[in-house]
């Protein structure tokens, strides 16, 4: 996915950029509203991540202007203004959603997915592996044409594994991407979710293999 990140704090911008890039997204980073307008003029984005207090203006004005231009790129506001009144005002201005700084990256991802799903999203390319067909945004998994009912965390786990088949993911890595960093969960949480995903994908030629002492990988029979 292509993100436009509008954020003036260098460290934070860099960190969000790194994190999104790490997950395989394309990101353009604008440090001012002017730069954001330039980017929007020449490229299309799936989503805009917008800060509020920027050196050349207020992100909310930019948002209103964006909406007036009937541009329908979804916008998620990243705000340090945490008061209820600010949040209500943001949604009234036309933001699709907001996260308050400091935000949990897993939550940002969840909100991004929710916004894109609600917007009908850009026609998301289906991911296929062996006899699995996976639509990450629509949250549909088919095994040989047969739809399987997966819960959110099982879907997210499959999404991570299917993005790089045969690659071994460590338990820690899966933990970091699947669960909120501040959430307290039991040590064997990942084993539990892997077990469930295996059960849900029963009958498929694709299977999740345990690489003892290292992690898991998706592989085909």
């Amino acid at each position: 996915m292509r993100f436009l990140l509008v954020e003036d704090t260098p460290d934070l911008g860099q960190a969000v950029l790194d994190r999104l890039t790490l997950d395989g997204h394309g990101v353009d980073w604008a440090r001012t509203l002017g730069a954001a307008r330039d980017h929007l003029a020449v490229s299309t984005y799936d989503l805009i991540l917008l800060d509020i207090m920027l050196p050349d203006g207020d992100g909310r004005d930019f948002l209103a202007e964006h909406r007036r231009a009937r541009a329908d790129t979804p916008v998620i506001v990243m705000t340090a203004r945490a008061a209820v009144s600010d949040r209500v005002a943001l949604l009234d201005t036309g933001a699709d959603d907001y996260v308050t700084k400091p935000f949990d990256f897993a939550e940002l991802e969840a909100r991004v997915r929710a916004v894109l799903r609600r917007r009908g999203g850009a026609a998301q390319t289906l991911v296929t592996f062996a006899d699995l067909t996976f639509d990450p945004l629509g949250a549909v998994v088919m095994v040989d044409g047969d739809a399987r009912d997966l819960r959110n965390r099982e879907l997210r786990l499959l999404e991570i594994l299917i993005a790089a088949p045969e690659r071994i993911f460590s338990k820690g890595h899966l933990h970091d991407r699947l669960l909120s960093a501040s959430e307290a969960v039991s040590d064997n949480a990942i084993e539990v979710y892997v077990g469930r995903l295996r059960k849900k994908l029963a009958g498929s030629r694709a299977r999740i293999e345990t690489v003892r002492g290292v992690g898991y990988r998706l592989t085909a029979l």
Binding site: T9, A15, M78, V88, A110, R111, G172, D176, S182
Partner: protein, 459 residues
């Protein structure tokens, strides 16, 4: 520190002045009436006495050797008509008392034909005496004759006393009436002041709107000064709020950087000890940020508590909105938010931000303390003019402390050490519910978990 000495009450001052003036006027009235009435009676009495004296004097005839005196009894009966007074007379011819009471006092100057009147003591009583002098011919010679006619003043004194009593009664009546009027007018004069004071006093502690009530011209400077003070106070509060918001922004932005960098470091760390400490850092950051946010929310809940009557609000729409907003977070823990709402809108006359603050906190709690892969149910029912909004989770419940301990500021349950929180959430809920004219309770849920219920008046 000693309290400043209180200046005399304006009302008392007005009252004392009014009553004092009334007393003075009543006294003057009394004296005037008594004086005028007394002298009028005196004049009438004197003219009767004078007439009687003149009649007697005219009956004196000269002659040979002596003066003939023929006292006309009509004169006495004329005097008797006035009252039961005793009458004395003395007729002096040429220095000798001819008839009557020889020691009846003579006037200081010889009287003429026009009667002269004077008071004199005789026989231990005070007499009013009329004196007329004339001359008659005795043996061809003019001899001066003086006629004295005295009368006690019992009747006159009685009438004067009666008149004085009436004057006193009149004076008292006027005084009483004036005193009541003074009381009424003091109260009426101070009424605008009292109304103004009442209007300002009835305001809640957060109401900083200027006073717009119409006041008499004399109070305009006072109201202007009051409004100036209110405006300065409002500006100071706004500045404080802006400062807190700015401060929060400046704290939260670097915290966001720390958190994001730590998450990246966590992604790249392999050994468990490092990962555990990085998670600790993230939890500490979340905790700091959450406290800052909740303190702001609590402040704004208190600040908004007194905004007057809010517009009617469909609580179903608010609940749908909020459920929609928290759904991505619920999804992350495979939790569902299930709404059980009536089909028709349910209208409450409550402030939207207060309601959202309360509901948002309840949903946050359910999301944090509910177990993964359970449902959060939000139910709206109506009962006796009250809307009941229940947010129920399947989670760890209230712990040993029970419900009572949780709404205190910065109080947290004994069973939640592993979850990031500020201890302000339920305080916000409670204060917001109160500010909406409602109440809030939290209880263990049958079958495990917690049910938090808001009772809000239907609008």
């Amino acid at each position: 520190m000693t309290a400043p000495r209180r200046a005399a009450s304006i009302r008392r001052r007005l009252l004392i002045q009014g009553v004092g003036i009334a007393a003075l006027l009543a006294l003057v009235l009394y004296l005037a009436v008594r004086g005028v009435a007394g002298s009028a009676i005196q004049t009438v009495q004197d003219s009767v006495l004078g007439t009687a004296t003149v009649i007697i004097a005219e009956e004196l005839r000269g002659g040979t050797g002596a003066v003939s005196v023929d006292i006309p009894y009509a004169a006495f009966s004329m005097l008797g008509a006035v009252g039961e007074d005793r009458v004395f007379y003395r007729i002096v011819v040429g220095g000798e008392t001819v008839t009557g009471y020889p020691d009846l006092p003579l006037p200081d100057e010889a009287p003429g034909l026009t009667p002269a009147f004077y008071d004199a003591t005789y026989d231990d009583t005070i007499l009013r005496i009329g004196a007329v002098g004339r001359s008659v011919l005795v043996d061809g010679q003019r001899v001066g004759v003086t006629v004295l006619l005295g009368q006690t003043r019992t009747a006159q004194a009685a009438i004067t006393a009666q008149m004085a009593n009436r004057a006193a009664a009149l004076g008292l009546g006027v005084f009483a009436l004036a005193a009541v009027l003074a009381l009424v007018s003091a109260r009426a004069a101070l009424k605008p002041v009292n109304l103004l004071a009442g209007a300002v006093e009835r305001r809640g502690p957060q109401d900083l709107r200027p006073v717009t009530r119409a006041v008499p011209r004399e109070l305009v400077p006072l109201v202007a000064a009051l409004n100036g003070l209110i405006a300065r106070l409002g500006t100071a509060l706004d500045r404080t709020e802006t400062f807190i918001t700015e401060a929060a922004h400046h704290v939260r932005t670097p915290l966001a950087t720390v958190r994001m960098q730590t998450e990246i470091a966590l992604r790249q760390a392999d050994d468990d000890a490092t990962r555990a400490s990085l998670r600790q850092v993230i939890r500490a950051v979340d905790s700091a940020a959450r406290s800052a946010g909740q303190m702001l929310d609590h402040a704004s809940v208190i600040h908004r508590s007194d905004r007057g009557a809010p517009a009617p609000l469909d609580v179903c729409a608010v609940l749908r909105d909020l459920a929609h907003q928290v759904r991505p977070v619920a999804d992350m823990r495979d939790m569902d938010v299930v709404l059980d709402l009536p089909d028709a809108p349910v209208t409450l006359a409550v402030d939207r931000l207060l309601l959202e603050s309360a509901l948002r906190n309840l949903l946050d709690n359910a999301l944090k303390y509910g177990h993964a892969e359970t449902e959060i149910t939000v139910t709206l029912t109506q009962e006796d003019g009250t809307a009941l909004i229940a947010v129920c989770d399947r989670g760890r419940g209230l712990g040993d402390g029970g419900a009572g301990a949780l709404t205190a500021r910065f109080a947290r349950g004994a069973n939640v050490a592993d979850v990031v929180g500020s201890g302000l959430g339920l305080t916000i809920v409670r204060d917001a519910a109160r500010a909406c004219g409602g109440s809030f309770e939290i209880a263990e849920r049958t079958g495990g978990g917690t049910c938090a219920t808001l009772h809000l008046p239907l609008g």
